[in-house]
Amino acid sequence: MPIATPFHPRTSARCVSLFYKDWAGYWAVRSYDTTHEREYFAFRHACGLIDVTPLYKYDVRGRDAARVLARVMARDVRKLKANQVAYVCWCDDDGHVLDDGTVTRFDADNFRVTSSEPALHWLRRASRGFQITIEDVSHRIAALSIQGPTSRDAVNAACGGDVAKLGFFRLAQSRIDGVDVQISRTGYTGDLGYEIWMLNEDALRVYDALMAAGRAYGIEPAGLDAMDVTRVEAGFILNGVDYYPATRCLIPSRKSTPYELGLGWMVHLEREPFFGRDALQREKQRGSTRMLVGLELDWDEFEGMFRAHGLPPEVHPGGWRDARPVYDTRGLFIGQATSGAWSPILKKNLALATVKSDYAAPGTTVRMEVTVEYERRAVRATVVETPFFNPERKRA
């Protein structure tokens, strides 16, 4: 049975839909109302406030902390400056991804890792013989994510202006309603946004202060359903949906490498060994056999398939994550679309798919399976670059 996060007294009072899901063993709101629309539009036009406490959090401290994390992560986190955050992934010895998350550097010897799966044992395995301590702080630290174009104004109003100049992927130590918090300029919506970290016992004070300060900026409590649409628009992958962690795969073909997932940009090969380096080096030379790509479905053809039944086109409300086969134009299976959404802001039907590399070049035409009035059809789709939605304010 899932348990409550420290924000539950507030979020449950507002969650009139009773739409919850189990996120890492916690009750997480899917949408506060019976539709997530208001929350989605708050993310894109005002700001949405979402409880992200269920993320796993580990504090890594000690003289060797940077070295150990550099050994674990495909990205060289030793380059991080104090109060900088990095998006990272980590792999097994064969270069297969175990998880993706963030590493934050507080100072020379103090880091925090966040992950979507438990990671303590993997970090411990990597740190044998090094002088570090690793503490699982998941159950002590509560977290809120506030995302959207007015999020900066709302957070600033709550914390007295401390984030006015906070750069993309930077961290600030701050106070909200007299309580110590850490605020990072990060998020999972591909928009301007912040994540706020605090002790469990301070959670409600921070929540109340943010809601009060955010009122003038159109703040809306938001749930996972709205965030799922925004993360597809942002082209962000999700562990367990768009890829499986290598430790959970019965068969090799289910595993993925950073290059295949479009995370090749964060793999730093030219350095001391790290988990998976040799395999990744070989893959880099040889090329990847599959690639994660963005797909834009052809609306006219899709609409036509419905019209043939006398129906208007049906747009799936919200994101979907039941994988669908992808074919080439001759009908041969070339991969799978693992999640997607109708994007209300782009007015496009989007999907994230893993396809054979031959079909990964932007502009390539493929076909994705859709169900139209109980019939399986394949609709034309074009491979496009991600992020699909990439507003300037995201990095501003």
Binding site: T35, R38, R215, A216, D300, P312, K347
Partner: protein, 529 residues
């Protein structure tokens, strides 16, 4: 040597801009001439008071054709729509009525007035969706040329009827009823409660000088129901940054394809050589030539003012003169220092995020029309109120709000004459605020700024003849193949190389872009550019 254009678009309203974008995308050299300092015509955003951005005239969008968004890549150029969540009808007694996207919640709300109405509501919605799906074919194509014996035309008409019959045996019947009945009679085929009939029938009178019980208003009802956002029929939305945001996105698209757009460039008249339009003369005397002239202005302004009566044969002139404008509505825009608080449903809940209709009963609406019939604005008018800053904080300073109030009736022809409007403008504004304040007591104290637009202002400021928001009423005798005049519904006019692309052409008004798109496509097919 002056630059030569393929096409000059007279007026930078949203339809003119759509035409410009399509022509430019097809490689034509296009010039748009807008008389005001801002683009958009009636789909315009202006910062009338520091920090407050108003959708000055048109305030919500539903009909904008989704394929135009795709073809002109308008989302890339900044077009963003945010759906309206609900419809709230406050009452002086009791909690009022809110219609929600959640069918069960709406059923409970309506049940307080009539359980029958509550249960039949989904049936009505289904019938309207079927109609919307059918009408989509009509608004996405040039009007069928009824009476033509051309096989292609006959086939188009046959295919339309085929589609209609395919929707079910009663749909043809329903369409005839819709075209001939009053909004109330039509709605009474489903509903009985006054509290529901009143706000629902209002869609039948918008921009029309008729009462909710006047025959012909059922069609106007459909015109407001046939919108579509993201595949969902009947949905309405706000445009991010106000409705001018749509116009600016279209203008950006047009510019990206190479169109040239000038503001503060009022056209005085259209240049003629024989029976052919050859360009325009600006008010400053500049002459600009082009292969075709496309007018986004309404038919009266275009034909009688910019071309001149003497260029047309008398039958056409009388048809244009008979074309009805009869503006019947006004607009009040308010800057507020706090949210309105409705007595019947206090607080800042979701109910104020959609549209708010002051339409408590059918009698109220009929009395509002009675005043108008005798040349007065309604003493207690129908109001359609929205507070877009709630869902789009970019249009007002933090914690403050913009309120847009559509007001009907405000007849263009007051008993003392249309020119009496400037004298009565503030009195009209007071009536509107007093009316709303009965439901929302703190309203007056929260007003920081007020703009009152009468039909006279819409004519003089925006250029809409007699202040008609649709460039001519949406009554059956001036729709489809009769809009704006019999024989001239395909965007061409009796003047060679002069075309019409505004709401005065098929399929009519509202921010839909359809006249602009259909005109551009017809023009490109004609080979004149």
């Amino acid at each position: 040597m002056a630059k030569r254009y393929d096409a000059i678009i007279v007026g930078g309203g949203h339809n003119g801009l759509v035409t410009a974008a399509y022509l430019a995308k097809a490689g034509r050299r296009v010039l748009v001439l807008e008389k005001r300092h801002v683009l958009g015509g009636a789909a315009v955003t202006e910062e009338l008071y520091p920090g407050f951005k108003f959708s000055v005239c048109s305030y919500v969008v539903s009909l904008f054709r989704p394929h135009i968004i795709r073809e002109l890549e308008l989302t890339k150029h900044g077009m963003q729509l945010i759906p309206l969540e609900c419809s709230f009808t406050p009452h002086l007694e009791g909690p009022g009525l809110v219609r929600w996207p959640d069918a069960n919640v709406t059923r409970r709300e309506v049940s307080r007035f009539s359980q029958k109405d509550a249960e039949i509501y989904p049936e009505f919605s289904l019938a309207m969706s079927k109609m919307g799906f059918f009408v989509k074919r009509i608004i996405d194509n040039p009007p069928p040329d009824v009476g033509s014996m051309n096989p292609a035309e006959l086939q188009k008409i046959a295919s339309l009827f085929g589609h209609l019959k395919g929707l079910g045996p009663d749909m043809l019947e329903l369409h005839v009823q819709l075209l001939t009945m009053s909004a109330v009679d039509f709605l009474q085929m489903w509903f009985e409660s006054d509290e529901l009939l009143a706000p629902m029938s209002c869609s039948g009178i918008i921009g029309t000088f008729l009462g909710v019980r006047s025959p012909g208003t059922a069609y106007v009802l459909l015109h407001h129901y046939m919108g579509e956002i993201d595949g969902a029929f009947r949905s309405w939305g706000f445009s991010k940054g106000g409705t001018g945001g749509i116009s600016l996105a279209i203008a950006n698209a047009a510019r990206s394809y190479g169109a040239e757009i000038r503001t503060e460039a009022p056209v005085a008249r259209i240049l003629m050589k024989g029976k052919r339009a050859t360009g325009v003369v600006l008010e400053n005397g500049d002459e600009i030539h082009a292969r075709v002239v496309v007018s986004n202005a309404d038919p009266r302004r275009t034909f009688l003012e910019m071309v001149g009566e003497k260029e047309f044969d008398p039958t056409f002139v009388s048809q244009v003169k008979r074309y009805k404008f009869r503006g019947s509505s006004g607009k009040v825009n308010l800057a507020l220092d706090r949210l309105p608080d409705f007595t019947c449903r206090p607080g800042d809940g979701v109910h104020v995020r959609g549209d708010i209709a002051i339409a408590p009963s059918l009698e109220y609406l009929e009395r509002a029309f009675d005043d108008a019939k005798y040349g007065n604005f309604s003493r207690r008018p129908y109001l359609n109120v929205v507070v877009p800053s709630l869902v789009d904080p970019s249009v007002a300073p933090p914690g403050k709000h913009v309120m847009s109030i559509f007001v009907q009736y405000a007849p263009y022809n007051l008993a003392e004459g249309a020119d009496a409007w400037p004298k009565r403008r503030e009195e009209f504004g007071d009536t509107v605020v007093d009316t709303l304040a009965e439901y929302c007591p703190g309203l007056k104290e929260s007003i920081l700024f007020r703009q009152v637009l009468t039909p006279w202002d819409l004519e003089h400021e925006i250029g809409l003849s007699e202040g008609n928001i649709f460039q001519g009423e949406l009554s059956l005798e001036q729709l489809l193949f009769l809009r704006p005049a019999p024989g001239w519904s395909r965007y061409q006019t009796p003047v060679n190389r002069l075309w019409l692309c505004g709401s005065g052409a098929h399929p009519g008004g509202g921010i839909m872009g359809a006249p602009g798109e259909l005109c551009a496509k017809a023009l490109l097919r004609s080979g004149e550019v």
